[in-house]
């Protein structure tokens, strides 16, 4: 493992922490500005640690929906962590203690950082480095945002909603060099996009692995 590779990894992770940190601060601010006590966004970030689900659950509550609707929405969005867990299982284990902690660090970005690496040792390093850094950055910034309240402006004006898909795109692009994964990913993305208007948020993405069948069928 070359040190230049590691330096690049840490720099990339730091950038994602910065972008996610601003989003986290906005989450804390939105929750508190909507009338929720400070401990709610803070506890959610520590215990749930999944940006999409946190925003959606708080969004449901602030829109007047009940706890059941908020929890259901959040769980649907987080169901994708099961297939992600299967993909990064060997990086999380095998010791019980690292697995208990490692499982909590399975988020879109840590999975993407891990599978973007070629060597197993580098995959493990990428998963843990991005997972731990993101957990720290996310939680610290949620606290800061919750305390700052309304002071945090609209993150859409900063274009940060484009940063998240851009991060994932930059990280998965090397895996799409081979024809079969690329075709499977394209078919999967089309299926998910077609399902967005008709299925509740979180479910469309779960249909995407059907794209694997389309490719295997042909070969």
């Amino acid at each position: 493992m070359r040190s230049a590779e590691r330096t690049t990894l840490y720099r990339d992770v730091a950038l994602v922490c910065l972008a996610d940190g601003v989003v986290a601060a906005s989450f804390g601010a939105i929750a508190v500005a909507g009338g929720l006590p400070v401990w709610v966004p803070v506890a959610m970030s520590l215990l749930v640690f999944a940006g999409g689900a946190q925003f959606s659950a708080v969004g449901v509550v602030l829109a007047g929906g009940g706890s059941v609707a908020a929890v259901t929405t959040g769980l649907l969005l987080n169901a994708r962590h099961l297939p992600f867990g299967l993909a990064v299982a060997e990086l999380v284990g095998p010791r019980p203690l690292t697995r208990v902690a490692g499982a909590h660090l399975i988020v879109d970005e840590s999975v993407a950082f891990a599978i973007a690496q070629a060597e197993p040792a580098m995959r493990r390093r990428a998963f843990w480095a991005s997972g731990v850094s993101l957990f720290c950055a996310w939680n610290v910034c949620v606290v800061l945002g919750a305390l700052a309240g309304r002071a945090i402006g609209d993150t859409d004006a900063l274009g940060l909603d484009a940063a998240y898909p851009a991060v994932l795109l930059a990280l998965v692009l090397p895996s799409l060099r081979d024809g079969a994964p690329r075709r499977a990913a394209l078919v999967g993305a089309v299926i998910a996009l077609a399902a967005v208007p008709v299925l509740p948020p979180g479910l469309p993405v779960l249909l995407a692995p059907a794209g694997l069948l389309a490719v295997r069928w042909r070969s």
């Binding site: 297939p83 867990g85 484009a162 851009a166 994932l168 799409l176 993405v205």
Partner: protein
């Protein structure tokens, strides 16, 4: 958001996360299946980024965000540094919004 609701959401989310590593302990997985699961994660990430780039709730996200992601895609394809890719995406979207594009 009651404490109970947060705990249920947290427990459910953790169950989804830990299920994969626990399952891998109990069943022997062949190399082709392992590769398939890795490809599955890639497929899932691409679907996630496609829906995040193009949709908001259950409709179209507007042009500013997909335009930013498109710029990022072109730069990443040309092997631009990660920092450049991500900053260009946010900057493109922010500038388009500043110019009044939704």
């Amino acid at each position: 958001m009651t404490p109970a609701a947060i705990l249920v959401l947290a427990a459910g989310t953790y169950a989804f996360r830990v299920a994969g590593p626990l399952l891998r302990d109990r069943i022997e997985i062949s190399a082709p299946v392992q590769r398939l699961m890795s490809t599955g994660a890639t497929v899932l990430l691409v679907a996630l980024l496609a829906t995040a780039a193009l949709t908001r709730t259950q409709g179209f996200a507007g042009w500013a965000r997909p335009a930013g992601v498109l710029v990022a895609g072109l730069l990443a394809w040309r092997r631009a540094p990660f920092v450049v890719v991500v900053v260009a995406a946010a900057a493109t979207t922010a500038l388009l919004r500043l110019a009044g594009v939704p």
